[in-house]
């Protein structure tokens, strides 16, 4: 039986300050974890999104599997500072014809991992298109991470600093990984979990924020703090 995730879906606390009202949601008492975050992986077909997810969730590197169809869904619970954090990982298909399926997942994402293949220039060249899409569909508060995958490959085409520069220009975290050698994969997801938790925690503290008069109804809405510091 699929259980409901939340006993309470978010208790609104009301702070009124003249005309502006700020609602702050605290995601509350859940089954066995305190935080639930949605992480969505995007990027061209064949850059290794599914392998990254498999490596992290199952510790496997299954080579030669077919292209993902639509959207795949995995869950892993990790522990950060003694708190259980549930990561819902959405592994999207890279091919163009699945775009309207994958786009529908952007908005509710807490973190978006944009993946390219360091041994394949075209996957890097497409990054601006992906960013445009993210701008268009994702919440502007979403945590964005640029990942150069397949760092184990000898035939590198994109030097690390090029990826780093790109990430810096676009206000993203940056990391190079290898799903094959299990390099930086754990680190990638754990740091995302930690960062998201940090942001969620800072939101729990009541504060007046006259600059954001919109009512934000999202549960665990996170990340309007500027998150342009770097991972690692």
């Amino acid at each position: 039986m699929p259980k409901r995730h939340f006993k309470i879906q978010g208790e609104p606390l009301l702070y009124s300050c003249y005309d502006d009202v700020v609602f702050i949601y605290i995601q509350f008492i859940m089954e066995d974890y305190k935080f639930l975050f949605k992480v969505v992986l995007v990027g061209n077909a064949g850059v290794g999104k599914t392998c990254l997810v498999r490596r992290f969730t199952q510790g496997l590197f299954p080579p030669g599997q077919g292209a993902t169809i639509g959207v795949d869904f995995m869950i892993k619970t990790v522990e950060i500072d003694g708190e259980k954090v549930k990561l819902q990982i959405w592994d999207t298909a890279g091919q163009e014809r699945f775009r309207s399926i994958t786009q529908s997942y952007y908005r509710s994402a807490h973190a978006l991992i944009l993946v390219y293949d360091i041994s394949c220039q075209p996957t890097f060249d497409c990054l601006p298109d992906w960013l445009r899409e993210i701008e268009e569909y994702a919440s502007n508060k979403v945590l964005r991470i640029l990942v150069g995958n397949k760092m184990d490959r000898e035939d590198r085409e994109i030097p690390m600093h090029v990826g780093e520069d790109f990430a810096q220009r676009h206000d993203m975290y940056f990391l190079e990984t290898s799903a094959k050698e299990a390099e930086n994969v754990e680190k990638l997801f754990m740091e995302i979990a930690a960062e998201l938790m940090e942001q969620a925690r800072s939101k729990e503290l009541p504060r007046y924020d006259t600059n954001s008069p919109t009512i934000n109804g999202r549960t665990t809405s996170i990340g309007d703090s500027n998150c342009c510091s770097k991972l690692s």
């Binding site: 169809i69 309207s100 399926i101 529908s104 908005r107």
Partner: protein, 767 residues
């Protein structure tokens, strides 16, 4: 056993001696009892001994019998072993004899075959010829040659037969192939099947299957093209015109299903099970070609691409406007956009197409799986074959086009939903009398649309499609719909005549805009309440929607894996996020309502408390008690306030209102009490007043709000004390005592309001 130790010191006096003597007597009795006990068992034991002695000789007999038995068994087993060895030898001999017989048969048959083939070829009896060749092919040729050698020292006859038969086989192969091709050209189904059956006899299973598949594909192509032509010629007034291409596609799938249905038994009986995959593979290639043709026509005639281009434009402008303009619900009127209604039929056809393709793929998968399970015994090969099937299906042109089609559907559905909701909001209507209809028309409309879209997605039988539409629906409700509600609630509830500045401002703006109508502010107030109700009713609708969709999906998408279910559940829980937003909206609206309709009114009503002295003489007390002017007025005022809202608000909203009112009243009451002073009788009066007030408010709602009055009742209790020291009866840390909501300092402070309590007494109290 006598266990008494004589202690010389104990024997020192007569008393001691006496004691020891008593002990000895007791011991003696004890020993006597034990002896009697032992003696009574004597005869029992003797009887047993006797029976044992009697049994002894019998044992001897048993032993000798057992030995005898064991010898017998050993003997028998020996015998059995001897017999079975002989049987084995016999069996060996027999099998050799039968092998020999087989060989002789083969040799005889060989002769027969070579003659029969000659005759059959002459008579063009291919079945018979093929049967002979088949018989020949089943023989072990080298062994036969050897046998012939051994028997006659001469194998020329056999070799001759061999070469003859080989030649005949080759001849038959070319002949049958030619005849088959001819039959295909002549479209002679009977001959096609006739020669199809001969291929396996000649050991040409693969060739036969391939040729047959090609034939089937050509038949398929023929009917598919005929169907497509018929579809293109169908008049637009036809009943099925709106789903014409879906129908054509369905016909294609049904055609393939029929082919498999008809020919599978044929293949299975002549080629054996486990061969369907080869045929399915070939048919799939043809299906890919034909479905592509149909879809191309579909795209062209339904102007799918121009619709998609329009939607893409719309999406771009919607996104740019939402990022530049603020979230005030009134969107700028866009230039000519497709009426979402026009897309309705197209969307329906798209989902039907997708559903049919899904069904077809499921059919193929099931058939091949059954076939493989019957025909292939090895688990590993079976798995490999199924993997091959999956890869074939995944890579098939049909699946790719269907994925693209689903993508197109989702784009159009997104537009349909968003635009329809926008229209519903634009056409929003409000019943003048909120007692009849507490919400405005858009709530029903919006949820009707959302449900319709999600249901349509379900009818596509694609889990990913359903999830995507659900996600889009959640975005739409949470962003667009909620912001429409919020924009209205932000105007606030104009209480008009009570708040003079507000009334004045409203009047001013009405005059400036040249539309001074008496009903304007009334209408704004009604709209505000209706939108408050909209938000509340929406949460209910979402709950029902979620429940009913969950069931419908389970029914429409059978065979979901655990992970699929979790995926769906996660997307469904997005609706929970919408509920949270709506709740926040209700809360926001309520705070607006409270700020303009509750707080300003309650405050003067409660302030009237200050006009009444609570330092009373007996006489004043009895006259006051008879009238209770303050609390009666207050209750009457609250009653009229609440009754003005009761029928205009949904029950939940009304209960929230009462709860807010209760909080406000207690808050104000505390303030005015703190400003007054009391004597014993005044305290008594206050206590009664508080009771009346609390009684009234708790009865006004179905919620339990008694807790909100805890502080106020406790204040009344403190002010209603007989003596200052009496407080210690109430203030206690023991379990079950009153849970005080007042701090000790507050208790002391309220006690000082009693004119008859001396401050030294209050100070002396321990809290």
């Amino acid at each position: 056993m006598i266990s008494i130790k004589l202690n010389p010191q104990e024997l020192g006096d007569s008393g001691g001696i006496q004691k020891v003597c008593e002990k000895i007597v007791a011991e003696e009795e004890n020993v006597t009892k034990q002896l009697e006990n032992l003696l009574s068992r004597q005869c029992h034991l003797e009887a047993k001994l006797r029976s044992v002695t009697k049994a002894l000789p019998n044992l001897q007999i048993v032993k000798s019998d057992a030995q005898h038995l064991s010898e017998m068994i050993a003997h028998t087993s020996n015998l059995a072993e001897n017999v079975s060895a002989k049987v084995r030898k016999l069996d060996d001999a027999r099998s050799r004899v039968s092998e020999c017989q087989q060989r002789v048969h083969d040799l005889l048959d060989l002769q027969l075959c070579s003659e029969g083939v000659k005759l059959a070829l002459q008579e063009e009896d291919y079945e018979k010829g093929a049967a002979h060749v088949h018989r020949f092919l089943s023989m072990d040729q080298t062994l036969l040659r050897q046998t012939a050698d051994d028997v006659q020292q001469d194998c020329t006859a056999v070799t001759n037969s061999f070469s003859l038969l080989h030649k005949a086989a080759e001849l038959l192969q070319t002949e049958v192939t030619a005849r088959f091709d001819e039959a295909v050209r002549a479209d002679d189904l009977a001959s096609v099947e006739r020669f199809f059956k001969i291929f396996p006899l000649l050991g040409l299973q693969d060739q036969g299957l391939n040729k047959f598949s090609v034939f089937l594909c050509s038949k398929l192509q023929e009917t598919a093209q005929k169907n497509l032509r018929a579809a293109l010629e169908t008049r637009s007034a036809d009943k099925r015109a709106s789903v014409l291409y879906a129908d054509t596609l369905t016909l294609l799938f049904e055609g393939i299903a029929r082919i498999i249905e008809i020919h599978q038994p044929l293949i299975e009986s002549y080629y054996g099970p486990g061969r369907l995959l080869t045929v399915a593979n070939a048919l799939q290639e043809e299906c890919d070609r034909q479905s592509k043709l149909i879809l191309n026509e579909f795209r062209k005639h339904r102007q799918l691409d121009s619709a998609l281009a329009q939607v893409a434009d719309w999406l771009r402008s919607a996104n740019s406007s939402s990022s530049s303009a603020n979230t005030s619900g009134a969107t700028t009127s866009q230039q000519s956009r497709t009426d979402p209604k026009n897309l309705d039929l197209l969307l329906g056809e798209l989902t039907i197409m997708h559903a049919r393709a899904e069904m077809y793929v499921r059919f193929i998968r099931r058939r091949v799986q059954n076939d493989v399970e019957v025909g292939v015994s090895a688990e590993v090969t079976r798995g490999l074959l199924m993997d091959k099937l999956e890869t074939m299906l995944r890579a098939s042109g049909l699946c790719h086009s269907m994925q693209a089609l689903l993508g197109n559907y989702l784009q159009l559905e997104h537009y349909f939903m968003a635009e329809s909701v926008r229209k519903a909001v634009a056409l929003d209507q409000l019943e003048e009398n909120l007692q009849i209809q507490q919400t405005s028309s858009m709530v029903d409309d919006v949820f009707f649309i959302v449900r319709k879209c999600i249901r349509r997605a379900i009818s596509s039988s694609s889990l990913d499609g359903v999830c995507a539409v659900l996600n889009n629906a959640c975005s739409l409700l949470e962003a667009d719909y909620c912001s429409v509600l919020r924009a209205q609630l932000r105007h606030g509830y104009m209480s008009g005549y009570l708040d003079l500045t507000q009334a004045y401002n409203a009047l001013q703006s009405s005059i400036q805009q040249g539309r001074l109508q008496a009903s304007d502010s009334e209408k704004a107030r009604l709209t505000f309440l209706a939108y408050l109700n909209n938000a509340d009713v929406s949460t209910e609708y979402i709950a029902t929607l979620r429940l009913s969709l969950g069931d419908e999906m389970a029914a429409a998408l059978p065979g979901m894996t655990e992970r699929d279910r979790a995926k769906l559940e996660s997307c469904l829980s997005g609706l929970g996020g919408v509920t949270a937003s709506l709740r926040a909206l209700v809360e926001y609206g309520m705070s607006q309502l409270s700020a303009s309709a509750i707080k300003p009114r309650v405050s003067p009503w409660v302030d009237a408390f200050l006009n009444v002295s609570h330092v009373l003489t007996e006489e004043e007390f009895s006259s006051y008690e008879a009238n209770e002017p303050f609390v009666r007025n207050l209750v009457a005022n609250l009653e009229s306030l609440l009754s003005s809202f009761k029928s205009s608000l949904t029950p939940t909203n009304y209960d929230t209102l009462v709860s807010i009112l209760a909080t406000e009243v207690t808050h104000q009451m505390e303030k005015v009490i703190a400003k007054s002073s009391f004597n014993r009788l005044g305290g008594l009066v206050l206590d009664k007043e508080v009771r009346v007030l609390v009684g009234y408010l708790t009865n006004a709602t179905s919620w339990s709000i008694r807790d909100k009055f805890a502080r106020l009742t406790q204040i009344a209790t403190v002010l209603n004390l007989e003596r200052a020291s009496e407080i210690s009866d109430y203030w206690s840390n023991e379990p079950g005592a009153i849970a005080w909501r007042l701090t000790p300092a507050e208790v002391r402070h309220f006690m000082t309001l009693r004119t008859d309590f001396r401050s030294e007494d209050i100070k002396r109290i321990k809290l």
